[in-house]
Symmetry: C2
Subunit: 108 residues, 2 copies
DNA sequence: GCACCGCTTCGGCAATCATCGAACTGTCGA
DNA sequence: TCGACAGTTCGATGATTGCCGAAGCGGTGC
């Protein structure tokens, strides 16, 4: 299986990364990956079709947020947290730590 | 002049904020504001029409990134950095500190 | 080889977005 | 009162996006 194209760390563009992270479904994917969860494409059950999921994976991959590694007939997804931190220090952490909903417990 | 609606800090939504920041024109606006530059709407010369600029201001305002204060026949724009930092700590700083283009000097 | 599996790619569709010119609103100064 | 000024709002338009089912494609295992 061909390795899909990934931008190098220096090719990352902030608007593209922010746009990739600005979709709730993609945000959920990123959070799952950050939790160290399993990372094949099929493990994401967001109520979306395979085609749509694949689309989101592509947006994340082409912006540099995520890496896709072919492994047999599966594809292993992983966060490019190292590259993101190098290029946009603190961004990923800020996005991930904003998990808490606007509820009261955010004040604790 | 009527004060336009601003979401409260608790109403901020991460995807909306990220989307607001994911447009190059809006990112430029935010950076100018962060530089402490003058802040009436008319001072932004991004090669866009008044109507388009006004649209971008609205996106920024409705997501919580920016505050608009009527002042005579002008409108003073300001970054809601305090509110953003409270709700999404580190996010704004990460976005702003990513100013440097993908050039070599980014490594310094 | 062949069927299955995991995922991508390909149209296509409806919704949203960025953009504009034109018309409008509210404010200030003459 | 009457412009000039600063912005907003109103259509309209073309581009992008999110979504899907169907078809395609490389790997695995029978």
């Amino acid at each position: 299986m061909r390795e899909p194209h990934h931008p190098s760390c220096g090719e990352f563009e902030l608007p593209a990364v922010l746009h990739a992270l600005s979709d709730p479904a993609r945000l959920q994917i990123v959070r799952r990956l950050a939790d160290g969860d399993e990372c094949t494409c099929g493990t994401f059950d967001l109520g979306l079709s395979k085609a749509t999921l694949s689309h989101h994976f592509r947006v994340l991959r082409e912006s540099g947020v995520v890496r896709t590694r072919p492994d047999g007939r599966k594809r292993m997804l992983s966060l490019r947290d190292d590259d993101l931190n190098e290029r946009f220090p603190g961004l990923l952490e800020a996005v991930l730590s904003a998990k808490r909903p606007p509820g009261v417990e955010a004040l604790l």
